[in-house]
Amino acid sequence: MRFRRTPFGAPGSRRVSVRAVRAAVLVFGASVTLRTLRAQETEPDRLARLDANTRFTIHVLMDSAEMAGLPSSALRSIALQGISLKADSKTIVAAVRQELANLRTARTTLGPVEPEELTAAAALLHAGAKPGQLEKFRVRQRGRSDLQAFTIWADLITRGVPSEDASSAITKLWDDGADDATFLSLWNNVQSDILRGLNPGAALQARVRETPGRPPTAKGQPPEGQQENTRSE
């Protein structure tokens, strides 16, 4: 490669133009470097931290959820949790797959409910509840949410209450028309009993007996004002 002065233009103007080009290139290079660094700092999508294969699999699972009308945000949240915990790719994909399966089962069992209720039901299934135990909640009063009941139910199983005991207790309270405050109060009492050293199952049964409720309705018949989740998806 040969280096010599450009053959056209006056020598003075040549020096100025070379300096200007150098300055422009320097400024442009600096701005590009800054932009790139800033883009890396802000990290628009944390899923990008996964390797390409895992990321692709997660996106496919999320797309499947969306196609089925299920909340893909729940899958994304689990993947991000795995990233923060530095879990390996296999564990992350397995956790996301499990969540998708639970969401599908919850949708089949409960019918078309709100996304939050669906994720709460999926968590409950993940905790150990059986789909058949959730079927009772397909029929509900207009405007009544099972979010609190499912949350307390999952917590009780996670704390060591046998799944059957937790199911019968929560279902009884639900049939008795218990509201969110009743479920929360039950949880507070059972939790303090467990912390005092009581057996989780025994603590729950004792507290359920104390909880006031109204008489349950006839079996198989939804109470007045209740309806089944049958609206089309």
Partner: protein, 196 residues
């Protein structure tokens, strides 16, 4: 095929012609080059001639390196604009104004007791489980850590991260089962209005 086989006369003629040495005129190449040289060049205007005239630029190694860096930068920006980080071609997204903004009208206070911790962070589905996003503040006395965050109405799963590595569920909230990563989280149900 054997030598004894009789060839067609036409084939024999082709073979003879192919074997005959080619004799060329030694001055033919020079005559062709001379003919090309005297051929007039296509006419160009002064501007076009100036644009296409060969020239040599003088660049120091530093300037050359910066120029190369600039070109790489242009490629990086073009790639970032054209493709998502997962390699898929970016598609036009509807503007934020066209979509309803998320409802985040509830301020929720999270409190955690960790007297020996140097730092505590709140992670959850509301901050993409990012440890750096929501650091908690230590109270003036004792080991009480707290932070307030705006949350949309609904169900939120969260945990506390002590000293960047130890994950703990909130003892004052219902547990969510282990998602497959070896620890339980907590659940916060948020309604409308303040839940402080």
């Amino acid at each position: 095929m054997t030598d004894s086989e009789q060839l067609h006369p036409y084939v024999e003629w082709i073979i003879r012609e192919a074997r005959r040495p080619v004799v060329t005129d030694p001055d033919a190449r020079d005559r062709v080059i001379e003919a090309i040289r005297v051929e007039p060049l296509p006419r160009r205007t002064a501007v076009v001639r100036r644009i296409f005239a060969p020239r040599v630029f003088r660049l120091s190694p530093v300037t050359g390196a910066l120029l190369a860096a600039g070109l790489v930068g242009i490629g990086v920006i073009a790639g970032a604009v054209s493709f998502n980080r997962d390699g898929r071609v970016a598609v036009e997204q509807p503007s934020v104004a066209a979509k309803p903004l998320p409802v985040s009208d509830t301020i929720v206070k999270f409190v955690f007791f960790a007297p020996r911790a140097q730092q505590v962070s709140l992670v959850g589905d509301f901050n993409d489980w990012d440890i750096a996003k929501t650091p908690m503040n230590r109270s003036a006395r004792g080991g009480l850590w707290s932070v307030t965050v705006p949350l949309s109405a609904g169900r939120h799963v969260y945990a506390f991260v002590v000293d960047g590595s130890s994950w703990s569920a909130d003892p004052s909230a219902p547990f969510a089962p282990d998602d497959g990563f070896g620890h339980a989280n907590s659940v916060k149900l948020v309604g409308r209005g303040s839940s402080l």
